[in-house]
């Protein structure tokens, strides 16, 4: 059967989930092409608030990395907004000029934030809260300080306000209605929430009607004027008043729309070959902005794409506010009406408020504030229409009080029926989780997430899942235990490093024996870590175990996706010469190297070299004076420099010279993760030293040393270590810092993460203030370099590890016949 062509417009959470279902049921039915207007992969939009507050990074919230698309043969066009659909020819065209034909089309264009048409809405500094770009803009603004005004006291607005406050801004929330989150909360819970936000120093103003956004005279936001004449100064205004379905694309090609794109129960639009999915959809008069209904739709579409007859019947939704320290749960409908009753529990001293709205002895709405663990239980009864008459007297106290069960927190979870929903985002019920734990022998939260997806989206049910694990696994499960370095041991990285020194363990088998490893030979996670710790702690005694190193460090080149390698020679401080460039050109010609690229670290990368050719390539490069650039190493990579006082009219010191000195001094040693340096000749910082692991900014009076920057998955400016007067001091202080990191860092932990873990002040205290400690670190580094500064390329040209580069045997193909 030939594959049909499926095109998906939009790459949010809903289409991501739909494809997961589709591939699970039949991986071969469709060739899939996705157009994503955002220039990135699929991430968990629900988790933007923890990213804004700094509790998570972008990396933490990626759902499908690039690998997922490749693995499933999905073509993903990033940054390609779809501008046209030709329904007669069945093709889709993007703004970037890509045209793809389809058999089935899924429109998942999501929603866009609603912008209140206030005067000044187009000023620089007026933001929305919808995607990662918005979060980045808010973080930039937060770094400059000042006040932020958030318009909208709903779920998104409050999460934005709490996040901006945690980032150090002054925050005012303006809300048109008398109480916060009035769509999800009754006035009492709204009041408790308002009090909590005020207690955190957030200025909450209800019944506040904005009149205009004020201009500071240069086109930037200066503040807001309210209808009553009040003026509030601010540097940014975040509009979080709601979303509306993005239905324009569908509307423009004649698909029926109302507020959103109209679909039937089978999720088809008015064109039977076109489905609509997610926040852009209008079903039964409802548009949804929460993830659970979108996931239900995703499942229906996946089945119908494969010829099924699944139906979507609309959803009842539950909400949780994702602000750390605020427990709030709401579900269903809680408007007052004559045929409705309510049960309310208030405990002012502990800030607990619970309200259940009943109709005909069934729960129709629930609001919980301050203590929300019974939320899923109430929600479960709400969805099932359970008759609560028999337990009415004690219902509000929660599940633990029913039937005289003990007050053990896990008892409530244990008592849940197997079909009770635990993870609302992903629609995972209790039975599926306990089943997976038992069948597959899962013992950690991460494993449960990988196999069942429970608590893998917004994460608010993590506690429930952990309780379920405790109930299922008994005492052997302890969620608060120290995180072991891998599944082969119960020791953490810190414990292992400490015990290697304390017990003088000097080989991998010794560590595994003495520390009671549970596997015979470790795994691909712990062995490279142990090998590094031993190299670092016993430089003169430990024999490096190459079989415990990642392939790149074993063959001293970078493996590429097709199994070929890339080679980067060192160019000290980024300086090169005609002779060096000529030698590189000759090597490229001689070995037919397909790609030559200048790297971000001021060097030249030759890509696509066959493994067998590596020693010969190095031999030729070695003749021209090149040594390995360690572009593959958990070690010193590059020292980026600017031209400094040699050439630059602004240069204050010889930044190139200092960069070369540092590189020649530091190269060769292994570190927990890669280390990149830069030296800038003046505060204009052309070498971009303030986002490196270690950076130097030259000034007239000497050298300012920086550390703990990052410019990868995380972006972080450096911290200042201190100021020194001479190059010699700079060299000593930087070396001491790197040695401190070598001795304390966890394997694969970059300097910025290590420094954040142990504290920037602690690093400054040991390196800047404690001369004795500094000298001791420096001396230990110098000692270890005696064994580390050997050019690995020339070693291999002379025959070391020959087996790595040659096939064992070559047999004729006839052997197959």
């Amino acid at each position: 059967m030939t594959r049909q062509k499926l095109v998906v417009v939009g790459n949010g959470m809903a289409p991501g989930r739909m494809l997961e279902h589709l591939f699970e049921m039949n991986a071969d039915a469709y060739d899939v092409t996705i157009f994503n207007a955002e220039p990135r992969v699929n991430y968990n939009r629900l988790m933007l608030s923890p990213v804004l507050s700094g509790e998570k990074t972008y990396e933490d919230i990626i759902t499908h990395g690039d690998g997922w698309y490749a693995e499933h043969g999905v073509t993903l066009h990033k940054g390609a907004k779809v501008t046209g659909i030709d329904r007669a020819a069945k093709t889709v065209t993007s703004e970037t000029g890509i045209t793809v034909s389809y058999d089935k089309l899924v429109i998942a264009t999501g929603s866009s934030p609603f912008i209140i048409p206030l005067p000044g809405k187009d000023l620089d500094g007026v933001l929305t809260y919808r995607d990662l770009d918005d979060v980045e803009r808010m973080l930039e603004a937060a770094a400059r300080g000042g006040r932020a005004i958030v318009i909208g006291g709903g779920l998104l607005g409050l999460e934005a306000a709490a996040g901006l406050k945690m980032q150090g801004m002054e925050v005012t929330v303006l809300h048109l209605m008398p109480t916060l989150m009035e769509r999800q909360l009754d006035p009492s819970a709204g009041f408790l929430l308002e009090a909590e936000f005020k207690r955190r120093g957030i200025d909450v103003r209800t019944k506040a009607n904005s009149h205009e956004i004020l201009d500071d005279g240069t086109g930037k936001v200066a503040g807001i004027k309210l209808d009553d004449g009040t003026v509030i100064d601010a540097s940014i205004v975040v509009m979080a008043v709601g979303i509306r379905p993005s239905a324009e694309l569908a509307r423009s090609v004649g698909i029926e729309t109302n507020r959103g794109i109209l679909v039937g129960d089978d999720m088809r639009t008015s064109d039977p070959d076109v489905f609509a999915l997610g926040e852009c959809v209008e079903h039964g008069g409802q548009c949804y902005g929460l993830v659970a209904p979108l996931y239900e739709m995703a499942k229906v579409i996946a089945e119908n794409l494969l010829g099924g007859a699944a139906e979507y019947k609309g959803s009842v939704t539950a909400t949780k506010l994702k602000v750390t320290g605020v427990d709030l749960y709401s579900a269903g409908d809680f408007a007052e009406a004559e045929d409705r009753e309510e049960i309310v529990l208030r405990d002012a001293s502990s800030g607990v408020y619970k309200r259940l709205v009943l109709k005909d002895n069934k729960i129709v709405g629930a609001v919980l504030y301050g203590e929300t663990s019974d939320g899923p239980w109430f929600f479960d009864m709400l969805k099932k229409g359970t008759d609560i008459a028999p337990m009415r007297e004690t219902l509000i106290f929660g599940q633990a009080y029913q039937g005289g069960e003990p007050l053990d927190p896990t008892a409530a979870v244990a008592a849940l029926p197997d079909d009770a929903e635990i993870c609302g985002c992903n629609g995972v019920c209790k039975g599926k989780i306990t089943g997976a734990i038992l069948e597959k022998g899962l013992t950690t939260l991460d494993e449960v997430r990988a196999h069942t997806k429970a608590s893998a989206s917004c994460g608010t049910c993590t506690g429930l899942v952990e309780q379920l694990m405790a109930v299922t696994l008994g005492a052997s499960f302890n969620p608060n235990a120290v995180k072991p370095m891998c599944g082969c041991t119960h020791h953490s990285h810190d414990d292992v490093r400490r015990l290697i020194k304390a017990k003088e363990l000097k080989s991998i088998p010794a560590v595994m024996q003495e520390l009671e490893w549970t596997t015979s030979q470790g795994c691909a996670k712990c062995r490279p870590a142990l090998n590094y710790y031993l190299v670092s702690d016993w430089p003169d005694e430990y024999a490096d175990d190459y079989q415990s190193r990642f392939i790149n460090e074993r063959v001293h080149a970078n493996i590429q996706k097709d199994g070929t390698y890339s080679v980067v020679p060192r160019m000290w401080g980024g300086m090169t010469s005609a002779a060096e460039l000529r030698a590189i050109a000759d090597v490229v010609d001689k070995f037919n190297i397909p790609s030559v690229k200048v790297t971000g670290g001021q060097r030249i990368d030759m890509l696509g070299i066959r493994k067998e050719d590596l020693p010969a390539v190095w031999a030729d490069l070695g003749k021209a004076g090149f040594v390995s650039g360690h572009a593959y190493a958990k070690g010193l990579r590059t020292v980026k420099t600017c031209v400094g006082s040699d050439w630059c009219r602004f240069g204050t010191q010889d930044s190139t010279g200092l960069g070369i000195k540092l590189e020649k001094f530091l190269w060769g040693s292994w570190t927990p993760a890669k280390v990149k340096l830069a030296v800038s000749g003046c505060p204009r910082n052309c070498a971009e030293a303030t986002c490196k692991d270690v950076g130097v900014i030259c000034v007239d009076s000497g050298f300012e040393i920086h550390f703990a920057g990052a410019a990868g998955l995380d972006i972080k400016g450096t911290e200042v270590l201190g100021h020194v007067k001479t190059e010699e001091e700079a060299l000593v202080y930087i070396t001491a810092l790197i040695q401190m990191y070598r001795e304390q860092g966890h394997y694969l932990e970059r300097i910025y993460k290590w420094a954040r873990r142990i504290g920037y002040d602690e690093v400054r205290r040991q390196i800047m203030d404690d001369a004795e400690k500094r000298q001791a670190y420096f001396d230990r580094f110098v000692f270890s370099q005696k064994f580390a500064q050997v050019d690995p390329w020339s070693e291999r040209v002379s025959g070391k590890d020959k087996h790595e580069f040659k096939p064992l045997a070559t047999l004729p193909a006839e052997a197959a016949e």
Binding site: Q521, Y546, Q547, S548, H803, L811, A813
Partner: protein, 109 residues
């Protein structure tokens, strides 16, 4: 050149040619076969191609117990069955291989 018949055991090298917890490759026409040697000197032969959809070699991976962790996507593959472990699913072709003294014999069909 020998013309090999069905089920032939072909000598491809000796045990010391492969480092412990390492692998070497045998080219067999268009196919590359990785011969693995474990810490306990057992040998296994697998096609040198990851069962992950993205492919890539297995031989440069890290060998632990009777598994190899492939370098490009960190899948863990059983050397005994060729099956992916954990949450990943897939299987790579295995070849019979045995030791005669120190000589490695590869069974090609």
């Amino acid at each position: 050149m020998n013309v090999l018949t069905l089920q032939d055991w072909v000598p491809v090298g000796t045990l010391p040619d492969i480092p412990r917890q390492g692998a070497r490759c045998v080219r067999w026409g268009q196919t590359t076969i990785a011969i693995f040697r474990t810490a306990c000197d057992r040998v296994f032969a697998l096609e040198d191609r990851s069962p992950s959809a993205k492919g890539g070699p297995l031989s440069p991976g890290i060998v632990h117990d009777v598994y190899v962790t492939e370098p490009l996507h960190n899948w863990v593959i059983s050397l005994e069955t060729g099956e992916a472990q954990g949450a990943d699913e897939g299987q790579v072709r295995c070849f019979p291989v045995k030791l005669d003294g120190e000589t490695i014999l590869l069974g090609l069909r």
